[in-house]
């Protein structure tokens, strides 16, 4: 699918990405590249534009200029549901699940089949669907909660459920916005373990504030500040970067 010569096949190439809201550049000429099977963590102070970057990649916000290439496809020109079909999954900051449906139904809706109107009308809950839902439910520690309405889950379980809803789509790029926010210590440990297990055969882009957690999972860290990249590299290198210490970690 790649056209022209490229030194390396990145899964995601963000180049010169800019978005301006009434003149305020929330993301300003941003470029970064994500490898296959990489866990990339984006950190940065509040208002650095972290969530906006995810919004731009998944199509929730339209870019003012710049390009986002995913496996040779230009995401900035695609609709949200097309971007999902291309293989990008996104988890929102607050658990975004369907309270009135059961855990099973939540996962089933995300199962990548019958996504058109006719497809949804004729969708059959066959053995393959059930098997896959149960498999994912086991991964996200909710196997014995399949019949439960999702609204009765704890906060941490809701976060896992949403991660599960993304897993069942089997995206090549998984984007998580503060997956451990509001979780207990033991839930954090389990989530790190979950993330380390699900990164096989996919790349993950994570926004996180919890430094301990970042250290546990990150292959590479990108520090954003005022819509621009301040520093990029391993956690260790970034932590030693004087610019980073000044604006962020030092506080």
């Amino acid at each position: 699918m790649l056209i022209g010569h490229q030194p390396k096949d990145f899964l995601l190439s963000v180049e010169g990405l800019t978005v301006s809201f009434d003149g305020f550049k929330a993301v300003n000429d941003l470029s970064f590249y994500v490898d296959e099977n990489e866990i990339r963590v984006i950190i940065g102070p509040n208002g650095a534009g972290k969530t906006t970057v995810l919004d731009l990649i998944c199509g929730k916000t339209k870019a003012t200029s710049g390009s986002i290439q995913f496996r040779g496809q230009e995401l900035t020109k695609m609709k949200e549901n097309e971007i999902v079909k291309a293989g990008v999954g996104r988890k929102f900051q607050t658990p975004s699940i369907y309270d009135d449906l059961t855990v099973f139904e939540n996962l089933e809706i995300s199962y990548p089949k019958g996504r058109s109107v006719v497809g949804a009308l004729t969708f059959q809950r066959d053995a393959a669907v059930r098997e896959r839902v149960e498999e994912v439910a086991e991964m996200i520690f909710l196997k014995d909660r399949l019949d439960m309405p999702a609204e009765l889950l704890s906060h941490g379980q809701k976060q896992w459920l949403e991660i599960g809803m993304l897993l069942i789509q089997d995206p090549e790029l998984l984007m998580l916005d503060e997956p451990v926010a509001g979780m207990s210590v033991s839930e954090r440990v389990k989530t790190a373990e979950l993330l380390n297990r699900i990164i096989k055969d996919r790349s993950v882009l994570v926004i996180e504030h919890d430094m301990k957690f970042v250290e546990d999972i990150a292959h590479k860290v990108t520090v954003l500040h005022q819509g621009k990249i301040l520093s990029e590299g391993s956690m260790e290198a970034v932590q030693k970067d004087p610019k980073v210490i000044e604006v962020y970690l030092g506080h």
């Binding site: 929730k60 549901n81 929102f92 975004s96 009135d100 449906l101 059961t102 809803m165």
Partner: protein, 383 residues
Amino acid sequence: MTAKVNDNPRFVNRSELLGILILAAFLVVVLPLMTDVFWLNLVAKYLTYSFVALGLVICWGYGGILSLGQGVFFGLGGYCMAMFLKLEASSVANTKIQSTPGIPDFMDWNQITALPWFWQPFHSLTFTIIAIIVVPALFAFIIGAAMFKRRVGGTYFAIITQAIAAIMTILIVGQQGYTGGINGITDLRTLKGWDIRPDHAKVILYFVEVGLLFVCIMIAQFIRHSKLGRILVAMREKEDRVRFSGYSVANFKVFAFCVASIFAAIGGAMFTLNVGFMSPSFVGIVPSIEMVIFTAVGGRLSILGAIYGTLLVNYAKSSLSDSFPELWLFGLGALFIAVVMAFPNGLAGIWSDHIQPYVDRLISGRKPKSWSDSSVADGAPAE
């Protein structure tokens, strides 16, 4: 809803089947045996609104799309039917005293001398039946696509549908020569030579209507139990999550709106047949909002509840507005507020929260599940 993960019925589960059978027994056996033709015809009229309420359950209850303009679609269906019947009643023999025989009387009064082009195809019953479904569906599709693709939703959509209802009324009233104006299309007589006015015809039409209602109920049940039904609920709660799970949210909204409109149009067509006329007073804002109230009272998440709600509110309207005509509208408003404040799931909610658990225990002796499923529960409300 006591469905377990693995049973995924295509149409009905056990408790719903029971509810449908009770409704069927009530409409097909109890009412015709216990009441006379006058009452049966009145129930037939109320039931035409229940088609609209049924559509609102899918569109508003499940999909969260509040349309305050369902009267438009009720009217479109009703007018299509009325145009066919009027043409049949306006044969040259029947209208030979007019200056232009063979056209509807109101056209003659408005100095129109030839049948307008859009009336021509309504000489055919087949075309009329197709038009009753297709015209409202197409109209709903255009409105829906225009609104939902642009992400217009919620209150804005409700206001726009209300505006459309107002525009439609003004259009019909204003174009008197083509539509019969404020009086509507009246003096309808026969359907393919079969007189629709005598009592025995009213009884037959009642049963036809009940049959169609159950067809629509089964379609609604099918949608509800399909994955599409669950997507509608999901969309109502977290639209963005659905969108970022790979669905085109707009298409699903358009679908729900079209289904609601087709149901409303079938109701309108049956209204014309049962009541014998169609007028703009069933198209505008007030009837459209009344229909939302019927749905809310019955329970906007309950397919059967909407039907009981329509029957009850209309029965109350007939009884009360005879004695206190000026108070009825206040009563209706108060009822709506009471339902929204105290019983957001209407009669069906009262049934499923307070009565059904006991009934379930009586029937099967099993314990209710530890987590209740009241928010998407369904069931017949208490009579």
